[in-house]
């Protein structure tokens, strides 16, 4: 299905380009259409999917950096090996005699008594176990993949960068106490003040905001930095914030903090809404309870979808550059290159906007949890 969506998107952009060429009155456009379809497969769908998905090993240009593959197979235990091994499958398509690696997807092969992989009717090796994901966790036939993948590498890299930048900037406050900020400090300070004064303080309130500052600052800069890292070409195609596991974790953390800090007022509004008749209270209970989870869910989907969509569009436009370069010539390439420059500029903006929105909506969730009981009087009247 995802392939269909991406080829559809890619095809749509390609079609638009075709129309332009058709309008120019090219007689050979029928043959070109065939050729375009081939390159769409080659440059487009597969490449894009590969880019936005997680991956074993890091590919910087033509350089392939191996990363550790760490697997936990229920009933067998841990298995650790280099991701380089995945590119050296044997004649049966097996890696290390028991894993299958196909199109970036690792699975445990179904072996017969002699240790050969069992094939299905169409001649493909059969899978015994697939990777555990949130929707099938704990079920039979899954193994757990704790590998340092491309995205784990991205997470660790961004953490290192964040720690270096902000701890260095923080030293300035001790070393030059009471003086005007300087260097990295003066780069960091307006951003921190922005998060404090424009996002966290107005959403949570003067009284409680300080408690949540470290978390919201970490989230803001983590998302922003990873959005930007994802835009750097040839840096291994990092797509951390465009990965649903990452946005899921961030959203769950915000939800967890919200639930832990929720006060009486907050829970009261969810389970027994004040000031309305009992039947309405029961309806609101259901709505508010669902609402408790839809907010972090939308946080998760919003960030994931925005970043992934941005990557797909940029990759599509770049793909079209190459596709048309092969089919038509260099002229279209010039135009689509300009498109990709425009998209990159837009994505730079999206990078900070998405970080801002996630932090703002997360802060509003926390703000709702710690909001003081200042509608007391009106509730009392309503009773």
């Amino acid at each position: 299905m995802k392939k269909a969506i991406i080829s559809g998107l890619f095809g749509l952009v390609a079609l638009l380009m075709n129309v332009t060429v058709y309008a120019a009155g090219d007689p050979g456009h029928e043959a070109m259409h065939e050729a375009t379809h081939e390159v769409v497969e080659e440059f487009g769908t597969n490449e894009i999917l590969h880019h936005i998905s997680d991956d074993f090993g890091l590919h910087i240009g033509k350089l392939s950096i191996p990363l550790p593959v760490i697997l936990y197979i229920p009933g067998e235990g841990w298995d650790v090996f280099s991701s380089n091994a995945l590119h050296h499958a044997d004649a049966h398509g097996l890696v290390h005699g028991k894993y299958l690696y196909h199109h970036g997807k690792l699975s445990v092969a179904k072996l017969d008594a002699e240790g050969h992989p069992m094939m299905d009717e169409s001649g493909h090796p059969m899978e015994a176990m697939t990777e555990a994901r949130l929707l099938n966790v704990g079920s039979d036939g899954v193994f757990y993949n704790f590998s340092v993948t491309k995205n784990v590498f991205g997470i660790l890299l961004s953490f290192l960068i964040l720690f270096l930048i902000f701890s260095t900037a923080a030293k300035g406050y001790k070393r030059r106490e009471g003086k005007a900020p300087k260097g990295l400090q003066s780069f960091v300070e307006p951003l921190v003040v922005f998060v404090r004064d424009e996002i966290v303080k107005p959403s949570i309130g003067e009284k409680h905001y300080a408690r949540f500052m470290p978390m919201m600052l970490s989230i803001f800069f983590f998302i922003w930095l990873n959005n930007l890292l994802g835009l750097i070409p040839f840096l291994g195609g990092l797509n951390v914030t465009g990965n649903i596991a990452v946005t899921f974790t961030l959203a769950v953390m915000v939800l967890a903090v919200q639930l832990v800090h929720g006060n009486k007022h907050f829970w009261g509004h969810i389970f027994w809404f004040p000031g309305v008749p009992v039947p309405v209270k029961l309806i609101l209970l259901i709505i508010e309870f669902i609402g408790l989870f839809t907010k972090p869910f939308s946080l998760m989907i919003r960030l994931f979808a925005n970043i992934t969509a941005g990557h797909i569009i940029i990759m599509s436009i770049i793909g079209i550059t190459f596709a048309y370069d092969a089919v038509v010539g260099h002229t279209v390439g010039v135009v689509t290159s300009l498109f990709s420059v425009a998209m990159f500029t837009l994505e730079l903006l999206v990078a900070v906007i998405q970080a801002y929105i996630f932090t703002l909506l997360g802060s509003l969730m926390l703000g709702a949890a710690v909001e003081e009981h200042h509608h007391d009087a009106s509730h009392e009247h309503a009773h």
Partner: protein, 164 residues
């Protein structure tokens, strides 16, 4: 759809490393940065407040100065007026005294003149008496010498005295 189904391994990695990062950043970055910013903001606010206070005090001082100046000017005017009054009074007093003195001196002079006059009169009277005696003597002597002429002499002498 793997794209929409979070990988368990990545969730675990993300959770652990993000929690660690959050604590590390809180200790080594956010706390120093936020307290640094806060204390600087406080200091700036304090400095602004004290600047405003100083300005107010300055204005207060200036208005005090002006008030003092006005008072001083008023005092000076008062003093000048007092001095003028005193001068006038002194002059008037001096004039009065002088007049009195002059009156007294005139009085004394008058008395002296009167005394002198009285003395002169006395002297004159004495002189007259002596002259009378002299005359009488002369007459007596002539009577004695010529007999009869002395009556005319007395007559004439008396005439002269009366005329005086």
């Amino acid at each position: 759809m793997d794209l929409l189904n979070p990988s368990i391994g990545l969730v675990v990695w993300m959770t652990i490393s993000f929690v660690i990062l959050m604590f590390l950043l809180r200790k080594f970055a956010w706390k120093p940065i936020l307290t640094g910013i806060k204390s600087r903001e406080d200091r700036i606010e304090q400095a602004l407040a004290s600047a405003k206070e100083a300005e107010e005090r300055m204005a207060q001082l200036q208005s005090d100065n002006e008030k003092l100046l006005v008072e001083a000017r008023k005092e000076r005017d008062q003093m000048l007026k007092d001095a003028r009054d005193a001068r006038e009074r002194l002059i008037a007093e001096a004039k009065g005294e002088a007049k009195e003195e002059a009156g007294r001196m005139i009085q004394q002079a008058r008395e002296a003149i009167k005394n002198e006059q009285a003395r002169v009169m006395t002297d004159l009277r004495n002189e007259v008496a002596r002259l009378s005696v002299d005359i009488a003597e002369k007459i007596l002597r002539e009577k004695l010498e010529e007999g009869g002429k002395h009556e005319a002499i007395v007559e004439r002498s008396l005439q002269e005295i009366r005329m005086n």
